[in-house]
Symmetry: C2
Subunit: 340 residues, 2 copies
């Protein structure tokens, strides 16, 4: 591999001069030498060693994001927003998939710390288990102490740094309110993984909306699943088996709602005539489902962008918080209950 020294030698200058020319120092260099060095670099196919640069330079330039899974449209959209802002700021973005394993998440924090990234964005809900939450928080605090910036998306217990908070509770209320407004009384819930704050928040909002309108939400009408299609389908099936009289299903995210729709179709239930289904997130595919999915929309790309902006902003005294509103998107999967 050609090194800077090789280039310098070939151009007949010192490494110092070559460095100044090739990495745009503010120290002036004569036009004469400049072209010589540039030519030499070209001839030798010189590619600077990022590690050496990073080691010699003071401030880090890359940033990292840890998501549960980029192939999940939820995170894909968030990542798109993060990426856009990072690229605009001239930063390289490292994308890490934790696949929802706290262990791996911790590992990645260490890894990004080791890479001396300027900032870490933690996307995806935090863990409700205080033990794992604290373990990750500890790592992050250490990273911050070493000068790293931290931003999280969603509520994370004990976690330091700035935060972008999708208003999941309000979103849950929106869903509950809408179903009540349509006249539903027996509402089933396919909730997300029991351990996540996102799940808890969405559920809390929903429950509040129902209670305020005199509905009850007994635990036999709640099933927990893993935010993916198949477990959502299973949960929906279980729920319908245990409660054949349900008229509506509030589902914790759109992906699981897809599973719920499939189950309904298999059973010959007409949506929305026999059963209303409402999702959460408003993934791009939601409008193309049949029937088009009524859902609670979160501006995911915008959330990602906001998080990256926070992460790249100079550190503030206290932690900053940006709250993002959820909005209801009415489509074709909800209607008044059947007038039995």
């Amino acid at each position: 591999m050609a090194t800077l020294t090789d280039v310098a030698r070939r151009a007949g200058v010192s490494p110092a001069t070559a460095s100044r020319i090739l990495s745009g120092s503010n120290k002036p260099v004569s036009e004469h030498l400049r072209t010589r060095v540039l030519l030499a670099a070209e001839a030798l196919q010189y590619v600077p060693n990022v590690h050496a640069q990073q080691l010699a330079r003071a401030q880090p330039t890359a940033v990292g994001v840890i998501v549960h899974d980029v192939s999940d449209p939820y995170f894909a959209e968030i990542t798109r927003g993060l990426q856009r802002v990072a690229t605009d700021a001239g930063r390289l973005l490292f994308i890490c998939n934790s696949y929802r394993e706290p262990e791996r998440e911790r590992e990645y924090v260490g890894l990004l710390h080791g890479h001396r990234t300027a900032a870490i964005v933690l996307a995806g809900s935090g863990h409700r288990d205080p033990k794992t939450a604290r373990a990750i928080a500890t790592r992050l605090k250490q990273y911050q102490k070493d000068g790293g910036r931290v931003a999280v998306i969603g509520r994370h217990l004990h976690t330091p740094g700035d935060a972008v908070l999708p208003d999941n509770e309000q979103g849950g209320r929106l869903a509950g309110t809408e179903l009540c407004r349509l006249g539903h009384h027996r509402i089933g819930v396919v909730a997300g993984p029991a351990g996540l704050t996102t799940t808890a928040d969405r559920l809390a909002g929903l429950r509040q909306a129902l209670r305020e309108r005199g509905r009850t939400l007994p635990s036999k009408r709640i099933a927990y699943a893993d935010f993916d299609r198949d477990s959502g389908a299973r949960a929906a099936a279980d729920l319908l088996d245990a409660n054949p009289d349900l008229t509506a299903l509030a589902v914790g995210n759109d992906t699981m709602a897809i599973g719920a729709l499939a189950v309904a179709r298999e059973r010959g239930l007409k949506i929305p005539e026999d059963l209303s289904i409402i999702g959460f997130d408003d993934m791009p595919i939601a409008r193309d489902l049949v029937p088009a999915l009524t859902t609670v929309r979160l501006p995911l790309t915008e959330i990602g962008a906001a998080a990256m902006r926070l992460a790249l902003a100079p550190p503030s005294d206290g932690p900053r918080t940006v709250t993002v509103e959820a909005t209801l998107i009415r489509r074709a999967s909800t209607a008044p209950p059947p007038t039995a």
Copy 2:
């Protein structure tokens, strides 16, 4: 930031010894010192500087992949396969989104080169424009000369390195054959971007199948789009406007097929009674569409895994090629043409 030297000092040993203990050298060290160093590292919250390590060490450890867009399910699935194999091999994977801009693609090759990654995987179809193809190929060759390994997914002109080739042409034949078998004669095609080899191959296979069965494929029955939902919808609409007598639509990928389905729905066309639609890729969502999408399946995760295995395998004399078969998945969006 605590450095290795700090740890060594605190433990009362030389940096050499500390390094040997902390990064698992094969040189034996007494148990006594080992615990002292480990304790010191723990106390100082020591996190090794990856850049320094990479600089000092010989072989690189990370690998990179350049995809068009991870949020596209097609690439998300491929990435999942890549990720799995990379992680199993203890490698960090850098994911880069080119957003289909050749410029950015070149840039990323340079970036990964600069990071001294062990391998680069180029996912997504190559460019048919010889100029851009050659520009990228040049960069890659240079990377290879410096010891980097290269693997590409899909056909890439002039590109060096190992390749995983989804048999797009065969897939196109499969789609064409199926439509002919069902009795269709006037078949429209929503093709992918005109510049991509993937598009050309799928189209070639399709065309061949039709010709062999005595069908023609005049250019007015072909519309090019960008592999995304909305442009697919537009292309389908244009096609139906220009050829109201079409009985089937072969679409270049599932994402565009979603758009085509939406257009058909808007126009009150019954699928598959009035119009058959066949997709390509078999994205996870395909089975959940209504009607469930008949499509040509590519084992995307497996393709990603194969590419990473090639990239991590020791270099061979000649370039290796793995061809991956496409298979037809019959679902509900295709049927015999209406018996007018």
